[in-house]
Amino acid sequence: MNRLSSPQELEALRESIVRNRDTRRRCLTICGGTGCLALGAEELIAAFRSEVESRGLISGVDIRVTGCPGFCERGPLVVIEPENILYQRVRPKDVAEIVSETIVSGKIIDRLLYVDPNTGQKAVHESEVPFYKKQLRLLLADNSRIDPNNVNDYIALGGYSALVKAIFKMSPVEVLEEVRKANLRGRGGGGFATARKWQTTRDAEGEPKYVICNCDEGDPGAFMDRSLMEGNPHSAIEGMLIGAYAIGSNEGFIYVRNEYPLAVLHAETAIRQAEECGLLGDNILGSGFSCRISINRGGGAFVCGESTALMASLEGKVGEPRAKYIHTSEKGLWEKPTNLNNVETWANVPLIINKGADWYRQIGTENSKGTKIFSLVGKVNNTGLVEVPMGMTLREIVTDIGGGVPKGKKLKAVQTGGPSGGCIPESMLDIPVDFDELDKVGSMMGSGGMIVMDETNCMVDIARYFISFLEGESCGKCVPCREGLKRMREILTGITEGRGEEEDIERLERLSETLMDSALCGLGQTAPNPVLTSIRYFRDEYQAHIRDKRCPAGVCKALITYSISDKCPGCGLCIKTCPQGAITLVEKKKPVLLDQEKCIKCGACYDVCRLDSVIVK
């Protein structure tokens, strides 16, 4: 890779890449994101490579391994260009047929196409799939077009042109003004006005100034940042460079959580390649502006997603937060002015610079501009990443894009904002996705995790789950969080085990107030949200557990029993699976017998039964 020393050289490179790419050429695009890898994409990629080679097609067919396009439910995903044919749930055994039928003969293999479960309609092209159609994939679309290990792909799509515009045609103040006009708000959870943070850092006294990209993404169930960093790391790097220029910083850090090894790898490759090209490092493209970026890994601590804890960890200390009456923009990393933004926030910056704030403001609502990527997970048909303009309703996202709840179960609630957010009941799902609207109902946008729950999820159990999670992740520094979460967990566990008392709800509410008022950092301050929203909207479930010692959703082990239905034909599959030997055969073709004394309610029989004959109540 030749080092580029001027914007003209970058343009020339871009033109030559595009010119040398024949868009009529067959290209097999295979998703190599973590989700598809978990479904066997590695074997699939190897199978395609070997098949294409053994058929002597290498000179005519490209194979591009890309990042995650977001349709995880249907992985492994393969898109064949130039026709844009989408094959889903592809297995190595399909490879030979795909190569001979589609690649060589141009025929479509019906059984690998996506079929809409609600209409029965088949989608041949990626663009026809309802899951994608209703999204506005400003950030995610490029994931299907880029091999993250090849900077040329990013350059071919216009990558680093925003950086050129910023550092050669705009002053730092002008860049900042553009981001301010666009009203970009932080995508990590806080929703804070990005330009205001940049301004504070820029105005603060102290050198050097730092920029940080927060890829710690600790919210369980959220993987937007993973996909951006795995699939298109240059978008964050370019954003950071533009931000660094506006702020007056020459050094940046990308903090990636330990549990994302692929994201770390791709970010390292991207940095190395950008440096080789002269797009990062000293005297970028001959502009006189220099900026270095390095990667740091987290150690497996949710609290390190909090900005002051993250910075402590970067300094080699324990990830404990500190009070923020002095903002990190003024005194952050090594006591120097530091601007920290989330991956998705940084990725929005090149868009804003290239297309302008006026264009950006047309998308979204009055106070929430642009798009937001959500990870739509849980009890939903189309699990995956969804990028929509702010303002779309929760119901549209879950039903139209998500395809609703599987197995005909009833939608019960949607949890947004991770452990800091709240559970929104089905009756309120027509609210638009917007920072302020979600705050109003007691939840928050958060990082973008969107967990769908159905009638078989117990809201008390969910509240207990979040509090246990936070108790484990609490750094322990302040009393309200350290002691308060422990007590809340004890009370909630008691309720789920049939030991709930009438005063428990009031106790939970009082503890919640204490935490919100006095905890040191966001972890403790927002921890009560899932509990308070579940009490607010699902009080009847709490009452059932406390007064009737009953779990309506059939989840809390101490309050449920497993039994065999009358329609059980005695096939005996559960007998072998039961680890306690609690099930016995009575007579052929008659229901089996479950011994309640021996039953430990592990759920093995329920999972293995194909005939719906195990009842959990």
């Binding site: 992985g75 600790g218 369980p220 890994r297 080699g316 324990v318 997970v377 995956g384 592990c602 293995v608």
Partner: protein, 156 residues
């Protein structure tokens, strides 16, 4: 897998060199040390403390703060169960309980015969496949209670 002192000194020495004895890189140094030696033996922590001129209490504090680090020898096979929200609503807890029953150890422990180490993780970002079990880095998705025993028996 216990580490001989010479081996520890050499390994840690090389890692400290790589990071130029920078105190700020303590977390990364511990990560590389664990990757090299399998776990953070006491001798390794002492070497790091001396090499970086950081009090042992601080090194110990960081090593015990982050979930990624283990101060005891690990099993031949590491089993990770995702307990993220998406996996939780799909029944991950029952999977964990089943694994605990089959292996005889609880999360955070290593079996006496050093066959398995069991860990929980709070979301690996592959939520479409939940519930997920990862053994030695290999992901298995859509796990049900009955699939656990056959899967574990593949690892000796």
């Amino acid at each position: 897998m216990t580490a001989g002192l010479e081996h520890v000194r050499e390994a840690v020495g090389a890692i400290l060199e790589r990071y130029q004895h920078d105190r700020g890189s303590l977390v990364a140094i511990l990560q590389d040390t664990q990757a090299e030696l399998g776990y953070l033996a006491r001798e390794a922590l002492v070497e790091i403390s001396t090499g970086l001129d950081v009090p042992m209490s601080r090194v110990y504090g960081v090593a015990t703060f982050f979930r990624a680090f283990s101060l005891t020898p690990r099993g031949r096979h590491t089993v990770n169960v995702c307990l993220g929200t998406a996996c939780h609503v799909r029944g991950a807890v029952r999977i964990l309980e089943t694994i605990e029953r089959e292996t005889g150890i609880k999360a955070g422990e290593t079996s006496e015969d050093l066959r398995f180490s069991l860990e929980t993780v709070n979301c690996v970002g592959a939520c479409a496949l939940g519930p997920i079990m990862i053994v030695d880095g290999k992901y298995s998705g859509e796990i049900t209670v009955d699939k656990v025993k056959p899967l574990l028996s593949m690892y000796k």
